[in-house]
């Protein structure tokens, strides 16, 4: 798999990566893998925030849809007419660390070290996602992580894990049961979460 981004900030519980292509971050809830200094160890994270802005700290974009001469430009035309934009804007995404791979063993808890800054980030393949999502241990850490859209993130992750399985519906049902156990004393939150992963 080709690398899609590079770590630009990292700590024990999450890391942020800059995408090589403008506007091409993995989707919300996607499982990504970051390399570490130990070639045998890779860190898994779930994308919980995607943002695009100026590379310059404090820099802001200006509106460009109406040119100086009054011509109207729409959407990708603006990028076409201003090729320098792709050089001064950056898309970055943050991922909540949910586990790691050491040699062939998967662990659904925090790794000993976060991925180093400037190390590669890859989007996980369907097989990798199937493999990782077999275990529900990370549900709890997603539900109770601070400063992330917990329920939306978990629902997006569960839906994506179901989508890459032939028996996706079974997965949703099993995940729902797991959630019922975790949220047994918060019916409203559970109901809202279940609505977000309801099979269609």
């Amino acid at each position: 798999m080709q690398r899609i981004a590079e770590v630009i900030e990292s700590n024990t519980t999450r890391f942020t990566a800059g995408a090589y292509e403008l506007h091409s971050a993995p989707p919300f809830g996607a499982l990504v893998r970051a390399a570490t200094r130990d070639a045998q160890l890779a860190v898994y994270g779930l994308v919980y925030e995607i943002r695009t802005g100026s590379k310059e700290p404090g820099g802001r974009a200006v509106v460009r849809g109406r040119t100086y001469s009054g011509r109207e430009l729409f959407d990708d035309q603006i990028y076409f007419e201003n090729p320098d934009l792709a050089e001064v804007l950056q898309t970055e995404f943050s991922a909540l660390t949910v586990g790691f791979l050491e040699q062939t063993a998967l662990y659904h808890y925090l790794p000993p070290h976060p991925p180093p800054v400037h190390y590669s980030v890859y989007q996980c393949s369907a097989d990798e996602l199937v493999h990782f999502s077999e275990d529900y241990a990370c549900f709890r850490s997603i539900l109770f992580a601070s400063q992330v859209p917990n329920d939306e993130l978990l629902a997006a992750y569960i839906r994506s894990a179901a989508r890459v399985r032939p028996a996706g519906r079974d997965y949703l049902v099993r995940a729902g049961r797991e959630l019922a156990g975790l949220l047994k004393d918060d019916y409203d939150r559970l109901a809202a979460l279940l609505r977000r992963i309801r099979p269609v």
Partner: protein, 414 residues
Amino acid sequence: MYVLMLALWNPYMGLDLTALGRQVRQMSHTAAADAASSAARAAAMRERMLTEVGAEAHWAQAVDLSRETAAWLLARPVEPLDTVVDLPPLPPAYSLVATDGSQIELDRHGAIPCYVINIGQVFLRYGQAPTARLTSQPTLCYHDEDLYLHDGARRIPIEGNYLSARRDVDEGLALAALAAEHLDGSLPAVALQDGTLVRWTLAGAERVVQDHFMSQYLDYLEQMRQRQIPVASYISRPRSPELVGSIRLMLCPDVDVAAGRGARCDRCSDQRAGRTPSCQPCQGLVDSDIMGERLRDGQRGPILLSMSRINVERYGPHQIHFFHMRVGRELCRVEMPQWVAQQAQFVDQVHTLVYDQCARGGGYPVALARAHEQAIVRSADRRAFQRLIESSLYRAEAPGGVSAKRESKEFSRG
């Protein structure tokens, strides 16, 4: 925070804005009063200039005759003085390179004598395959030949104006390299610089310094001429009074072209007769006051040749010409070397491409804005650079340390 608290607590520290505020208000009133009178004078001088349309050759001669003896700057008309050229059509695709530089000056109180020149470099291509490359190239200058020019046994330190001159040269050389790398002649192109192409900073310099920098600078222009890539520079809100200087000649009673006499300000006949000099109405006016009213958005005025001494005497086939152009509410000055000014196709190319750059950049050329962003050295960068030097010197076990004066400025002491 600590420093801020001290400033609030200690009334004797920092700038007294209350006292300054009164003076600022007085200044604003004076400026408002002056504006009305100078607009009326500018209109009168514009009319005066337009009565000489058709006599450009005559006034070009007058300019040549007065060059050495007039006390003001002059511009020689190359095109009719009433020239107004509409914006030429924009080519469907074009390329452009631009550079801009900044520096970390040599710090006499710093750990070691050195300076940094940072050149922002921009390549942009518009049209079918739009692309952009924005980079910056910092150079640490610390060798003896970076710090001093040698004139026999004498060493002339490169700092202040001379450092700016070196930066100008480096900007030019970087532009030539950028053009060689990216411009293959398949698209209309222009190489754009910020500010003037006339190296004013060298005007008062001694000969050996002028020779050193000018030869490199002219080499760069020559490279561009051989590659046939038009060079231009953009000056936002120009304040130069060169055309105004030529209008002064029209008012001057001492000019007599037929007799081979130009203006001789040290022997002004008005002054000697106890009169106010006839050119007095031009006092304080600048070229944009004259040209501004004549040009609509995108139009340019006549091409003029800058008659500053360094341009006439040192630039040879690259003598800097200029025209004014209106971009929205701003009047800008675009400069170019002679070999660009003499090819109508190049002039049109510079005219329309520079305007398009301004249009895309909301009034200022995108390429220059980007080059500046790449080049700029912020105060945080400066501090980081100083720390980098100090820690590196320490690790290398080289003698270092800052002066006591520098150290005393780092913190306010209680």
